[in-house]
């Protein structure tokens, strides 16, 4: 979002947006935005009146001609500002599409035929099911699944993340995306999407399409704006015969000025920019939304379903405490635990080392021991790891039942408070790892699921917003409950299977809730499809990505919370600026109506509460305010209104005060200031 702010001030951006804004004056384009189209028609009318003063038969003086010219210029600028806002918003997306298109430059792919021979094919001719071979330095031609080989792949073209990822057959790392580059070794890939339907293609059309396709809520709001425009057109059109009947002379330019001031040009001019910028904020966040509808649905989310591992906790468990059994010194346990993990490369092992070091273990001989000892790796059969030292000392850590067996076999027996320690660790949601020296049990390492920092506050905020959080985990209920309590989620599902997730979603939806979830595995796909908002991880399988309506390129499941906020912010920006736009009308009325009628009904000056210089100055000032407010609000339209999580009632109060009351007061001040500037000027011109 920082970059968004910077970039719409840059010179090149400004220039190209301006040119684009001028191109948008084409009536064929303007007609899509009825509010601004009305302004354009008004502009053309006044322009005609300026160029051919007698076109409608009335005798017009030089002063009127100057007045008409000024009105025409302001109307032109009003439209220009609105178009400019849209162009700026589109500009950002365009730049992104260009970079993406560059990655689509693969022209040829090596297709392996069933007889083992190899032929070269154009990338766009690849069909679903084709097997291609991609070697180091080559670009993957289309989305697919790895059939054979292991290789590192640079996905920075899509994710922006420069560190290469390992891809191999099977598991959650088997899917590859077209447009990414193999940086080492080779991969044999089965193509899974049709030409033109790859993830990259979708991304491009989505980002391009963001500026074209209106979201459902945007269409509904547009309907409201159009009807307001029609109402005010009616007001002005019917005003003319009434004034004629009463012999109150009003010029056509003034009537057009009144129309333009009353119709909601502010929001009408910024509406499409708000939508584009909102989608863009999601993209900036490295999340690809498959449709604007999905982003809007985010604003409505009532229930968030979150996986425990990776989302709520860090993926790995960390050593939290060393618990010696009765009769063993804590120091000894730590020393042995440290030894046991010296050659252990797993995150758990590393966490044991750092905790041991923290507690002051003797690390003098480290290099030597590693060199001289034999590493015993963890296997599914033995379910323990450790090392055999040169002097024959056997050091092991592992699951309780295996170590227990070893200990019994060696005739050491089980320490008296062993079971109690295991129980103690399990009850707080931890995993016990038992440490043994020469098959004699010394104690337990308490491995803890570490809840990500700051999550508890986030969940509190979500609760304040009325969003319920549900944690899904394969852990047993005891462990799950402990983690749930620590993370501060509202409820949890323990020992959950993928099918359970769908059931939870369905249950919530039956109660009329809007559900969001994140997922990555193939077995998450049905749940992702069932949820109202499904955020798939880019690292996940293609099936999951297909089923979801959003994909997070950074594969950070916690992001769903931010996406929800962006969705809300998008809707809020529309609401706030609509309110502001409508509230503005009051001041404009007080400027224009007395000014318009003062010539015929001098008593009307009593309603000139802003004490504006002259009728002409009053009308022009209102019109200038109406134009200038658009570029002034572009930053809000782009960045979205400020949003802090709070309850609906508080949020409404706050936004009403800022954009409602503010919308009533601001134009009174603005019009008065403009009048102070232009009033004397008009006086010298004799207007």
């Amino acid at each position: 979002m920082e970059t968004a702010r910077k970039s719409f001030i840059t010179g090149t951006m400004f220039k190209s947006s301006m040119i684009d804004a001028l191109k948008k004056f084409s009536p064929a384009y303007m007609v899509k935005n009825p509010v601004m189209f009305v302004v354009e028609i008004g502009f053309m009318f006044v322009l005609l009146l300026t160029l051919f003063p007698n076109i409608f038969g009335n005798e017009v003086g030089e002063h009127d001609r100057l007045y008409n010219a000024i009105v025409a210029v302001i109307l032109f600028v009003t439209i220009l500002f609105a178009n400019f806002a849209e162009s700026i918003a589109e500009g950002r997306g365009k730049a992104q599409v260009q970079t993406l298109k560059k990655t689509k430059t693969v022209t040829q792919a090596r297709v392996l035929l069933s007889d083992g021979s190899e032929i070269l094919k154009q990338a766009h001719e690849l069909k679903k099911g084709d097997i291609v071979l991609v070697q180091a330095g080559e670009v993957i031609p289309n989305d697919g699944e790895v059939r054979d080989g292991i290789a590192t792949v640079d996905e920075s073209a899509i994710t922006g993340e420069s560190a290469p990822v390992v891809k191999e057959r099977g598991g959650d790392f088997s899917s590859v995306t077209g447009g990414t580059t193999v940086t080492s070794d080779w991969l044999m890939i089965e193509i899974t999407s049709m030409p033109g339907e790859s993830f990259l293609d979708k991304m491009i059309t989505l980002i391009e399409g963001a500026s074209r396709k209106k979201t459902p809520n945007e269409v509904a709001l547009n309907t409201l704006l159009v009807s307001l425009t029609i109402i005010f057109l009616l007001v002005v059109v019917t005003l003319y015969p009434m004034t004629t009947y009463l012999n109150v002379p009003i010029s056509i330019a003034t009537l057009i000025a009144l129309t333009v001031c009353l119709i909601p040009t502010t929001i009408g001019g910024l509406l499409s920019a708000i939508g584009i910028a909102g989608m863009d904020r999601v993209t900036q966040f490295n999340v690809i939304a498959m449709s604007g509808r999905a982003v809007e649905a985010c604003g409505d989310v009532d229930t968030l379903i979150l996986d425990k591992t990776g989302t709520i906790t860090y993926g790995n468990r960390m050593a939290a405490e060393f618990l010696p059994v009765k009769g063993v010194e804590s120091k000894d346990l730590i020393q042995v635990a440290w030894l046991s993990s010296l050659t252990d490369d797993t995150p758990e092992g590393k966490s044991i080392l750092s905790l041991a070091c923290e507690l002051g273990v003797n690390t003098d001989d480290e290099e030597n021991i590693i060199k001289s000892s034999e590493h015993i790796p963890f296997t599914a059969q033995t379910r323990m790891s450790g090392l055999d030292m040169k002097d024959g000392t056997k050091i092991r850590k592992g699951a309780y039942d295996t170590i227990k067996k070893e200990s019994m076999n060696a005739g050491h027996g089980i320490p008296t408070n062993m079971e109690q320690l295991i129980q103690q660790v399990s009850s707080v949601g931890g995993t016990p790892l038992v440490v043994a020296l020469n098959d004699k049990i010394l104690g337990v390492i308490y491995l803890k699921d570490v809840v990500k920092a700051g999550l508890k506050d986030r969940f509190d905020q979500l609760r304040a917003m009325g969003i319920k959080t549900i944690m899904c985990t394969g852990d047993n209920p005891l462990t799950a409950a402990a983690i749930a309590k620590e993370a501060g989620v509202d409820s949890f599902i323990a020992e959950s299977k993928p099918e359970d997730k769908i059931q939870v979603i369905k249950d919530e939806q039956a109660q009329g809730k809007v559900v969001a979830m994140t997922g990555d595995g193939t077995n998450d796909a049905p749940a992702l499809a069932q949820a109202n908002v499904g955020l798939a991880m880019n690292s996940g399988t293609n099936a999951a990505k297909e089923a979801a309506n959003m994909v997070d390129l950074d594969s950070n499941p916690t992001k769903i919370i931010e996406v929800v906020e962006i969705g809300k912010q998008l809707l809020m920006t529309r609401g706030a600026l609509t309110t502001f736009s409508i509230a503005n009308d009051i001041a404009k009325y007080f400027a224009i109506i007395p000014a318009m009628l003062m010539v015929a009904v001098p008593e009307m000056s009593a309603l000139n509460i802003m004490n504006l210089n002259s009728p002409t100055s009053a009308i022009i000032s209102a019109l200038i305010f109406n134009a200038v407010i658009i570029p002034l609000l572009i930053p809000i339209a782009m960045k979205g209104v400020k949003y802090k999580p709070m309850s609906a009632a508080k949020l409404l109060n706050k936004n009403l005060l800022v954009y409602g009351v503010g919308g009533i007061i601001a134009p009174f001040i603005g019009i008065k200031l403009i009048d102070l500037l232009v009033g004397p000027l008009f006086h010298t011109f004799g207007l």
């Binding site: 459902p216 809520n217 509904a220 709001l221 309907t223 409201l224 009807s227 307001l228 109402i231 005010f232 009616l234 007001v235 002005v236 019917t238 005003l239 003319y240 015969p241 009434m242 004629t244 009947y245 009463l246 009144l258 009353l262 809007e296 604003g299 409505d300 009532d302 917003m465 009325g466 319920k468 009329g512 809730k513 969705g567 809300k568 998008l570 809707l571 809020m572 609401g575 609509t578 409508i582 009308d585 009325y589 109506i593 009628l597 009904v601 008593e603 009307m604 009593a606 309603l607 949003y643 309850s647 609906a648 009632a649 949020l651 409404l652 109060n653 936004n655 009403l656 954009y659 409602g660």
Partner: protein, 567 residues
């Protein structure tokens, strides 16, 4: 002032009681009238072959339109041949074609705009068979539409309720019993209820005068209960026979305020009773308060403006101590007149106990404005429906401001609904402004205007506001029995009534069919003070901003000229 306070204090408890009763009638729950009325209903259902099956929204609207069309057809023929029929002791002639067109639409749409004078234009048979009959049926039509609308907002299905059953039940359970009670009170106050011919008497001054008689009390009761407003006599409730005393005046005001307010209570109970039993229900209360705020602001304005009197008349040395008494009845004074004026236009009844034409400019602006808004309680159930359009609009904007897609009572407001809501809000100003513009540009239209300048424009605006809002009161002074005025106001009444009802029921049907979404702390509360405040603001913004230029040319110019001239 205390007279006004007393009426409002009496109003509150009876509107809540009636609301509960109306709720029971609407939801087909047991009422104390059932033992008697069930038999009546059974006979009616049997005679007319009404099947008690639930209707879809479409069927409901169709039944409503067709039955109304049938009544219009019969009524029109009766008006055209009334001279040849019986019960015509005063030998009234047949009614002219465009006037008949105007009159029949006027009464079928519950407008009761009268381009004729009852005592010289209608036979007793027409008064009873058309006017009183339609006063019942048009009111019942409006309440039935409102019931269908409210039920669909709270229900989860579109197939609910039967138009004919609602229609019959409203008449037998609500309108009839209340009318009988009110008619008896009015008779006790001195209203005539007779079928004998007008009497020619010699007055104390020695001159000869025709005294118009007839079944006045019975018409008068349903005229107010059903927020109809069409008088037996041309001068409506200013005449001593229609409105003899201060007590009858209060009874008539309470009668017209009763059911529109009770509709809001009944709707509120329908919303609240999904969860718990309450006296009022918060949802309806927030709407009721919004309506009350608009009502009270209007009332105070009229009262203050009339109380202040006319500065030009003061200058002439005529005392304005009693306020501006021009066109008012001495037995009512400024307070009772100001209240009656506000009530009859806010609750869109259209009966008058003083001449609105002679109200001070600001005093005349308020009744006009009430009808232009058409949501300050409004008449015969449709007032609530009109207000609900603004409620939905307010929700749309407010929901966006809290970052939610708009939702009311668990149903999402999307593009289709928004289109219809916008159309619905558009119709009313379109009718008033377009016809007014037409009237001041055509010679036929201008011919009817009897006042110069701004007040002339006020006459025109008032007439079309009254027609489109289905109010029916006249600014008077307008020479409105001409082809132009009969036809244009006839069309205004017709479109103002039926287009709106059709669209509103369509919106309710759309919402009824939608998926239900539950509420949480994150959803918009539509039943608290801030929402009420926002609702009033939106009504004023859209309503006031639409009519402000026209009002500025009419009453506001008049007011400024009146005061600044004398200063």
């Amino acid at each position: 002032m205390w007279q006004i306070a007393i009426v409002l204090i009496i109003y509150l408890p009876i509107v809540i009681l009636t609301g509960h009763y109306l709720f029971r009638v609407t939801m087909q729950q047991k009422t104390w009238l059932d033992p008697i009325m069930d038999r009546f209903d059974a006979v009616i259902y049997k005679l007319s072959g009404i099947k008690q099956v639930d209707m879809t929204g479409k069927q409901y609207v169709l039944s409503l339109i067709l039955s109304n069309a049938f009544m219009v057809f019969i009524g029109y023929i009766l008006l055209r041949i009334q001279a040849m029929l019986f019960l015509n002791p005063n030998n009234i002639d047949n009614m002219e074609a465009t006037l008949s067109f105007n009159t029949i639409i006027s009464f079928m749409t519950n407008t009761n705009l009268q381009h004729y004078s009852g005592e010289s234009g209608l036979s007793y048979l027409s008064q009873m068979l058309i006017i009183i009959f339609m006063m019942f049926t048009s009111a019942a039509t409006g309440y039935a539409a409102c019931m269908a609308f409210c039920r669909r907002l709270v229900a989860k299905t579109d197939t609910i309720g039967n138009f004919f059953i609602d229609f019959v039940r409203v008449i037998t359970r609500v309108l009839m019993p209340l009318s009988i009670v009110v008619a008896i009170i009015l008779v006790s106050q001195g209203s005539p209820q007779t079928l004998s011919a007008n009497q020619t008497v010699q007055t104390i001054e020695g001159k000869v005068q025709d005294i118009a008689l007839g079944p006045v009390a019975s018409l008068e009761s349903i005229k107010h209960i059903g927020t109809n407003g069409g008088g037996f006599n041309g001068a409506n409730s200013t005449t001593p026979f229609e409105n003899p005393t201060v007590i009858s005046n209060i009874v008539e005001m309470l009668s017209m305020m009763l059911l529109p307010g009770a509709c809001v209570v009944a709707f509120s109970l329908m919303v609240a009773h999904r969860k718990e039993k309450t006296i009022f229900g918060k949802q309806g209360l927030s709407i009721f308060v919004a309506m009350s705020v608009l009502f009270l602001v209007g009332l105070v304005t009229v009262y203050v403006a009339e109380r202040a009197g006319n500065p030009i008349i003061s200058e002439l040395g005529i005392s304005q101590e009693l306020g501006s008494m021009e066109g008012k009845e001495m037995r009512f004074g400024v307070a009772q007149s100001a209240l009656f004026t506000t009530v009859t236009t806010a609750f869109t009844t259209g009966s008058v106990n003083n001449m609105h034409d002679t109200l001070t400019p600001l005093g005349g602006l308020i009744p006009m404005f009430n009808m232009m808004l058409n949501v300050v309680f409004g008449g015969k159930g449709v007032g609530l429906m009109n207000m609900m359009m603004y409620v939905l609009l307010t929700i749309f904007i407010a929901c966006l401001m809290i970052g939610r897609t708009p939702q009311f009572l668990g149903k999402k407001i999307e593009e289709k609904e928004m289109k219809l809501i916008a159309l619905c809000i558009l119709i009313h100003p379109a009718i008033i402004l377009l016809f007014s513009a037409l009237a001041v540009t055509t010679t036929a239209g201008v011919a009817g205007i009897t006042n110069p300048g701004a007040h002339g424009l006020s006459q025109v605006l008032y007439e079309f506001a009254s027609a489109s809002a289905n109010n029916g009161s006249g600014f008077e002074g307008l020479a409105d029995n001409s082809t132009f005025w009969n036809v244009t106001t006839g069309l205004a009444m017709f479109f103002g009534r039926y287009l709106t009802i059709i669209i509103q029921l369509a919106i309710a049907s759309l919402l009824a069919k939608k998926m239900f979404h539950s509420d949480s702390v994150g959803t918009l509360k539509t039943d608290n003070t801030i929402f009420t405040f926002l609702l009033v603001a939106i009504v004023l913004m859209i309503g006031a901003l639409t009519f402000l230029p026209a009002l500025a040319l009419g009453p506001i110019t008049e007011h400024l000229q009146l005061y600044l001239h004398s200063a």
